[in-house]
């Protein structure tokens, strides 16, 4: 390496000159995280707090990284690359920030909710229960009944509407329906509840709160979702399939029934399951339209009907003097609700993957 002409100099690769080695950003990130963890550790020791603030440690560690990588990169690589690294770090930071509430939510619901997940919770109602004990069986049954009826109403109407839009609809009516489905998607859930309440008040007299009314409110919310998702799936069915069927002399309605729908059935099922997952957690419309109750009620046309989301809400806002059992029930209800929604979501994706039509070769 010793040269007589020029002073000793490391051989530099011109392609990587002025760039940070790949390992450096990771090293800086690990360093700032460790430093932040240490600072928070000291803080905890000095103020004698019992909980280690892990959220704060991660947050300030990442913020420290954003600042430090900008400075280092600016010194080595220049302004443009420094800005690039700065934005990359910011984008990562945005993601970390968004994950924090999700993680916190999942952990709290699991930790607080699992305490009351027992046999009683799924078999008993809250009839004559003050304080401890009781369950949510009446709420689960109410949720299943109302969501079931809403599904029974909205799936046929929604599916036929999407068939109309894709296969038959031309001109103004189809345009109007497309627009109104969009409008319906944006109806606030509580407005749907108010509508169902107003409807049943006119039919059955003032102050009527029945399960069917809740089901109607859910239908208003569910219908546009079903239409939208089925429409998108039906449009994906290749036109060649339809034309091949017509060429064989098959009437249009049979083509739709035997060719188009079977091809799209996996997607339609997925859409329906996702729309059920969307409405099964609705609280406000059921609170308005179906009311709340502590008893079993299997009759949709008579008496108030409890549902799981409303159960969670009421356990939370009407705590007794001994509040812990109420809070426990609220969290257990929340956990059950999240579990149902997640199962529906995963199931929908599974259906989509397993029964997807084998297109192409």
């Amino acid at each position: 390496m010793v040269s007589t002409v020029s002073p000793p100099q490391a051989v530099t690769n011109p392609l990587t000159a002025g760039r940070l080695p790949t390992a450096v950003p990771w090293g800086i990130l690990a360093g700032t995280l460790a430093a932040s963890a240490a600072v928070f550790g000291l803080l905890q020791a000095s103020t004698a707090e019992e909980d280690y603030n892990i959220v704060g440690a991660v947050f300030f560690g990442v913020v420290g990284y954003v600042v430090l990588i900008y400075i280092v990169s600016r010194l080595v690589e220049g302004t443009r690359r420094a800005t690039d690294r700065f934005v990359t770090a910011l984008v990562g930071l945005a993601f970390v920030i968004a994950m924090l509430p999700l993680i916190s939510l999942v952990f709290t619901v699991l930790a607080q909710g699992s305490g009351r997940i027992d046999l009683d919770f799924f078999t008993l109602s809250l009839r004559n229960v003050l304080g401890e004990g009781g369950g949510a069986a009446h709420a689960i049954i109410g949720t299943l009944l109302m969501t079931g009826v809403a599904t029974l109403i909205s799936v046929p109407i929604g599916l036929l509407t999407s068939i109309y839009l894709v296969e038959y609809g031309r001109g103004r009516l189809a345009q109007a329906i497309t627009f109104l489905v969009d409008v319906m998607t944006g109806i606030p859930s509580i407005v749907a509840g108010l509508f169902a309440f107003a409807l049943f008040e006119l039919i059955l007299g003032p102050g009527t709160r029945v399960g069917l009314s809740g089901a109607i409110a859910l239908t208003v919310l569910m219908l546009p979702v079903v239409v939208r998702s089925s429409e998108e799936i039906l449009r994906l069915v290749p036109n060649e399939l339809r034309e091949a069927s017509y060429a064989l002399g098959v009437p249009k309605w049979l083509t739709i029934l035997k060719v188009v729908i079977p091809t799209a059935i996996a997607g339609i099922t997925t859409g329906v399951m996702l729309s059920i997952a969307r409405v099964i957690g609705e609280t406000a419309p059921l609170l308005i339209a179906a009311g709340f109750s502590n008893n079993f009620n299997f009759d949709l046309t008579e008496g108030r009907m409890q549902s799981l989301p409303v159960y969670v809400y009421y356990s939370y806002i009407s705590q007794g003097t001994d509040f812990q059992p109420y809070i426990d029930r609220a969290w257990a209800g929340a956990l059950t609700l999240i579990a149902i929604v997640m199962i529906l979501n995963l199931g929908a994706r599974l259906v989509a993957r397993i029964f997807a039509p084998k297109l192409g070769r």
Binding site: A98, S104, Y164
Partner: protein, 316 residues
């Protein structure tokens, strides 16, 4: 028709099955029209008596208040909470959408997109429970800090709430709830940026950020705007999270950390409706009608923007 050499046009035979099927599809489509008309119709029918009611006969009004002065703080609260939530969620959502579409490795990106979808599926009542029991307590110390150090900004004038159940907490919960919607739509549009443009920018020597700033963001702007409007629509109508987190009263204030907050229309209905009777019900339905009108306007603007640039919609 009368000519002997009739051209045989292969007209489709009208089979009974065809007629029944197309008629039922048409009826189902028209039902959508009918349902929407019914929603608007019943709300107007039941809401008008509430607007026209004599203030003396309405027991949920405080002393010397009529419908207008009852509803204006609620409208303010609704818009204010939604605007705060949007201001917090939009930058984050753009960041996450970029992260998923352009930064994360493809395999990871799919999983991350799925996690965001799950976040969208969490029921609002669970968010409310979490916001009131966990977030409010965790964030309250920072309100004290904000009041002491940034109290000169009207937003943080205080006095800081002792429970943490303030407008800022409610807005954070709302922001978390609308984040997945804005992210999903922005991500979709960012992914549709023509790769040729992106590669051209990179070939000219642009760094990744310069490529995003000059190609991806201008291309995706309409999508981001419409996503933001849809998120705004959801935030305006969101009920339970606000009702459970916010401790509200009928005042108008920009202070977001004190214990005196305006309620939103939806939360106000949810809190008062179960106990309401008589003409009070009509008043609450009338406020619901106003909420319906507000979200309708916001959503229509969003749809207009999307439809103007149809190529960006995810369906194609």
């Amino acid at each position: 028709m009368s000519s002997p050499v009739e051209i045989i046009r292969p007209r489709a035979k009208q089979r009974p099955g065809d007629r029944v099927f197309s008629a039922s599809a048409l009826i189902a489509g028209s039902l959508i029209l009918a349902i929407l008309a019914a929603v608007a119709g019943f709300l107007v029918l039941q809401g008008i008596p509430g607007i026209a009611a004599d203030p003396e006969s309405v027991s949920i009004y405080a002393e010397g208040i009529d419908f207008t002065s009852f509803v204006i703080p609620l409208i303010f609260g609704t818009l204010w909470a939604a605007a705060l939530a949007l201001a917090m969620a939009l930058p984050l959502a753009i960041g996450i959408a970029l992260f998923i579409s352009h930064y994360a490795p493809r395999r990871l990106a799919q999983g991350l997109g799925y996690i965001m979808d799950l976040l969208a599926a969490v029921p609002s009542v669970v968010f409310g429970l979490w916001g009131a029991n966990v977030l409010a307590g965790a964030i309250q110390p920072s309100f004290v800090w904000l009041e002491e150090n940034l109290g000169w900004i009207p937003l943080f004038a205080g006095p800081a709430s002792g429970t943490g159940r303030t407008m800022l907490t409610a807005a954070i919960v709302l922001a978390v709830m609308i984040l997945p919607i804005i992210t999903a739509i922005s991500r979709e549009v960012f992914l549709q940026t023509p790769p040729l443009y992106e590669e051209a920018a990179l070939a000219l020597g642009a760094t990744r950020w310069e490529m995003i700033r000059t190609v991806v963001l201008p291309f995706g702007r309409p999508g981001v705007i419409s996503g933001a409007m849809l998120g705004l629509g959801r935030a305006l109508g969101e009920t339970m999270a606000v009702a459970m987190v916010l401790s509200g009263s009928g005042i108008i204030t920009f202070d977001i950390i004190s214990s005196e907050n305006p309620l939103t229309i939806a939360a106000n209905v949810a809190l008062r409706f179960p106990e309401a009777y008589g003409i009070n019900v009509n008043v609450l339905i009338a406020t619901g009608l106003i909420l319906f009108a507000i979200t309708l306007i916001v959503n229509s603007i969003a749809r207009y923007i999307v439809n103007r640039r149809k190529d960006f919609s995810g369906a194609n």
